[in-house]
């Protein structure tokens, strides 16, 4: 049941590049990554593409398919119309290395800027007790496979290179939210630094990150907006600010 499909693949590197047309076979049940692999094995031996698990678990095969940031291993060929031309390019918010491979090191730099989890000093191995309902919120964010599709689609950096230095991006807002909601984390100033150092205020909650997340993490509703509200608690709400002064604790 093989059919021929037309692919437009971006080929090139950081100096130059262009979309190239190829015709390739696609079989029933295949995903875009399979077809790219077939191109690689039969027509373009040196076509660069990242992948690992082929099951949407590792977040390696991020690219843009018909202009949308997606995982190539989770995009089924059957989702395209018969005869439809399929355009694949590397992520466009990051520098390109070669062909479909982008330089995502920005994200690893940002990961380094988020202060780590701090365990209570008085809790030894096996002494921690946490209820399921208390860990669930953070668990949602720990589903993240670091595909960086959310980072790629976020207009704050996609459209404004200069914002990269001051903006951590949705992937790391969920990391901050995860830690702020972690029942045992001891570090107390995450809300304030989210706003002052990691650029939470730059996000205008336009929700593209949520739209592209392959893990269906509700990034905006469950992490960014709650964090924005928590920031208001400590920074912009005079009533709560006063309350916290009196009770000497962070909201």
């Amino acid at each position: 049941m093989a059919r021929k499909v037309n692919l437009r693949i971006w080929r090139g590197d950081s100096n130059s590049g262009a979309l190239q047309n190829v015709e390739v076979e696609a079989n029933e049940g295949e995903v875009v990554l399979d077809v790219i692999h077939r191109v690689q094995a039969t027509q373009m031996g040196d076509l660069a593409v990242r992948w690992n698990c082929k099951a949407g678990k590792c977040g390696s095969c991020s690219m843009e398919i018909n202009g949308k940031p997606r995982l190539a291993c989770m995009t089924r060929m059957s989702s395209f119309e018969e005869g439809e031309e399929i355009t694949v390019t590397p992520l466009r918010a990051f520098p390109v290395i070669k062909d479909l491979v982008a330089d995502v090191s920005f994200n690893y730099k940002k990961a380094m800027e988020i202060p780590a989890y701090e365990h209570p000093a008085d809790l030894g191995p096996g002494e921690a007790r946490m209820e399921q309902i208390d860990v669930e919120r953070s668990q949602e964010f720990r589903k993240c496979i670091e595909c960086f599709l959310c980072q790629d689609t976020c207009h704050v950096i996609r459209d404004h290179e200069e914002n990269k230095k001051s903006f951590a991006g949705p992937r790391f807002f969920i990391r901050i939210a995860e830690l702020d909601m972690h029942p045992l984390d001891m570090l107390k100033n995450r809300k304030r630094t989210a706003q002052e150092e990691h650029g939470l205020g730059m996000c205008n909650i336009t929700k593209c990150c949520t739209e592209v997340c392959p893990e269906h993490i509700r990034i905006t509703d469950n992490a960014i907006i709650p964090m924005k509200e928590r920031v208001v608690d400590v920074k912009y709400d005079p009533a709560r600010w006063l309350g916290s002064k009196i009770r000497r604790r962070e909201g």
Binding site: E28, E30, D46, K54, K57, I97, V101, A111, Q132
Partner: protein, 627 residues
């Protein structure tokens, strides 16, 4: 060519999976400078794909559990071919390793009392797997990745440079371990991105490169599972032990073809999934081997009751060790009771409400829904065996993870052998990574502190560099992609789940032939992120691994765990006392027999004599273990 990049570290960790990261943390915390190297991006290693959980006898769900029970299960699962000391250390130390992760920020699923929850898995007597839904490996990797970031942040504060003492070199492939004067001096490799070469000088090298699945056609492994570490170790003079034992996971996806092999986690069965053939028969009841008769239910009523009351009922046969289930499925399909795509049915939809399925098995639901268009809350899955895990691996000292025969070389994780015997229990790998990753880190640290460094000679550098350049200098040679496919056909057909002597002999010849032709592989394009070039090296490693597997398999004339011989069915007491040791003589893999270490008395006594009688000769029983 640009100038060679050179780095100097105390410890080099090849592999950023669970084992590599745990080793790196340990070595860094011992005060050493550490480099971590991996072929993919940081955080993408195979370990992220592990689903079910990590086995540790914390006894949070059933307080009857303890290390002795875990040890017994592990030995039983491995059919007593395990290195007892590794199984012992593993059973004793796993709980602490899990707690440690929690202290680094991991969020496991909880019990009602707020402890770490544990789930049932094949071959484990009690609920034992710490888990997070069905994405436990991800939690493990992310936690350690973040732990490493934390160490780097600390270094940034202290030394003004986050990478002062621990650095991750992502997308870099190691092609050679360099020895000078008989001891490890470093390693050589290339950046995948630019193709430029790198020399690492280090006193200790820890191999943590994971598995070999890509040697086979149908596998749950990613492209990284090419047995690099196995081959690197062999070439560096280390031994591989028991390479004939490969685990075929009973439940891989079988349809559509492009997802063939992708894993369907055992938790599906742990949560109540049932296997049936096309006649609707729950066939596993027919396949309970004698050694397991008293632990597994022989009728549906009891099996069903077990989910509610585990103390008074025997467990369902779907939860037999993997080798048994894989063989059973294989037999059903061969007997014509399989689906049109060559699988059997696995169903949770009739037993568990839809919302519970989505909560407990979210990524399975997702995987089937997105990739196969199957809603597992409503329909059965189609599954069949897939090459999943290699029990064989580098022969190591259990306590230090030091590779035997090569000072300065260490191995941990899937690449190390011995721990799992002839068959690994589900969940025992993730805990293995943590236990022996840590031990490798400690072992390397102790070694570095006592040994003196040797410099890498220019001759070694040149030899390594020439090897990398070679495929570009050959024009019009063989295509690496097609050789890889050929190899996969051979292993799948001749060294697969059921083997016979004549086929193995055939396989050995064919592998040798492919290996000869592979010397002539040529590569199109330049060095920059060129998958064809990358495959040329991976292919070399896979060929060595396949050779070692085929040669060990032909030598073992019995069926045990992950090695089934049609011509020698059943276990044989004689063979239980034998390990197969592979070594490399510069041109081919040589396999010899080595006597298994004897179980010490205190471990021997943990078992019921009647159970041991099923595995051991009467002389061994009479001796009652060593002292």
């Amino acid at each position: 060519m640009t100038e060679l990049e050179r780095y100097k570290y105390d410890v080099l960790v090849i592999g950023a999976g669970g084992a590599g990261l745990r080793a790196a943390v340990e070595a860094r915390e011992a005060g050493l400078r550490v480099a971590i190297i991996c072929k993919s991006l940081f955080g993408k290693a195979h370990t992220v794909m592990a689903e079910g959980g990590a086995a540790a006898s914390m006894g949070n769900v059933n307080s009857g559990d303890n290390w002795q029970v875990h040890f017994r299960d592990t030995m039983r699962g491995g059919k007593f071919l395990n290195h007892y000391r590794m199984a012992e250390l593993h059973a004793k130390e796993s709980p602490d390793r899990i707690y440690e992760l929690e202290m680094w920020g991991a969020l496991f699923d909880r019990t009602k009392e707020g402890k770490i929850s544990q789930r049932n898995f094949g071959g484990h007597e009690y609920p034992r797997l710490a888990h997070v839904g069905d994405r436990t490996g991800l939690e493990l990797i992310r936690t350690m990745q973040q732990k490493i970031v934390q160490l780097q942040q600390k270094d940034a504060r202290e030394y003004g440079n986050a990478e002062a003492n621990i650095r991750v070199f992502a997308e870099l492939t190691i092609t050679e371990i360099i020895k000078e004067k008989g001891v490890v001096a470093g390693a050589y490799g290339y950046w995948r991105e630019g193709g430029n070469e790198v020399l690492f000088e280090a006193q200790a090298v820890i191999i943590a490169t994971g598995g070999v699945g890509k040697t086979f056609k149908i596998t749950s492994n990613s492209w990284e599972g090419t047995g690099d570490g196995h081959a690197l170790a062999l070439k560096a003079g280390a031994n591989l032990v028991d390479m004939e034992f490969l685990q075929f996971h009973p439940t891989g996806m079988v349809w559509p073809p492009s997802v063939r092999g992708i894993l369907v986690t055992e938790s599906v069965r742990g949560e109540g999934g049932v296997l049936t053939n096309t006649l609707g028969e729950r066939f596993m009841f027919k396949y309970i081997p004698d050694v397991f008769k008293d632990k597994y239910a022989d009728n549906e009523e009891e099996a069903d009751r077990w989910y509610l009351d585990q103390d008074n009922n025997r467990r369902p046969p779907e939860l037999l060790p993997r080798d048994e289930v894989a063989r059973a499925i294989n037999s059903e399909v061969k007997a014509g009771r399989g689906t049109e795509h060559g699988g059997v049915f696995l169903d949770v939809s009739k037993r568990i409400p839809a919302e519970v399925i989505k909560k407990r098995l979210p990524s399975m639901w997702h995987q089937f829904y997105e990739l196969a268009g199957v809603d597992i809350t409503k329909e059965a899955m189609e599954v069949g065996p897939t090459c999943h895990y290699v029990m064989g691996g580098v022969e190591v000292e259990p306590d230090t993870a030091a590779a035997i025969g090569v000072p300065g070389l260490f191995a941990a994780g899937e690449v190390a052998g011995g721990m799992h015997g002839s068959n690994r229990l589900g969940g025992n790998s993730l805990s293995d990574l943590l236990v022996f990753g840590r031990r490798a880190g400690m072992g390397a640290a102790a070694y570095v502190k006592s040994a003196t460094a040797v410099a890498v000679s220019e001759a070694s550098v040149k030899a390594a560099a020439d090897r990398i350049q070679a495929p570009f200098t050959r024009a019009g040679g063989e295509n690496a992609y097609s050789l890889h496919q050929e190899l996969q056909e051979v292993t799948h057909n001749l060294v697969g789940i059921i083997r016979t002597g004549s086929e193995l002999k055939d396989a050995i010849e064919k592998i040798a032939d492919i290996r000869k032709r592979s010397q002539n592989v040529s590569v199109a394009g330049d060095r920059k992120f060129n998958p064809g070039f990358h495959l040329a090296f991976d292919l070399d490693n896979m060929l060595l691994v396949a050779e070692s597997t085929a040669k060990s398999a032909i030598a073992r004339e019995e069926s045990r765990g992950g090695h089934t011989r049609d011509d020698f069915p059943g276990m044989n007491d004689k063979w239980r006392q034998v390990n197969h040791i592979s070594s490399y003589n510069g041109s081919e893999v040589v396999v010899r027999e080595q006597k298994l270490p004897t179980l010490p008395k205190e471990l021997f006594d943990l078992f019921d004599i009647h159970e041991l009688e099923k595995y051991m000769t009467s002389e061994e029983i009479a001796k009652g273990g060593s002292n």
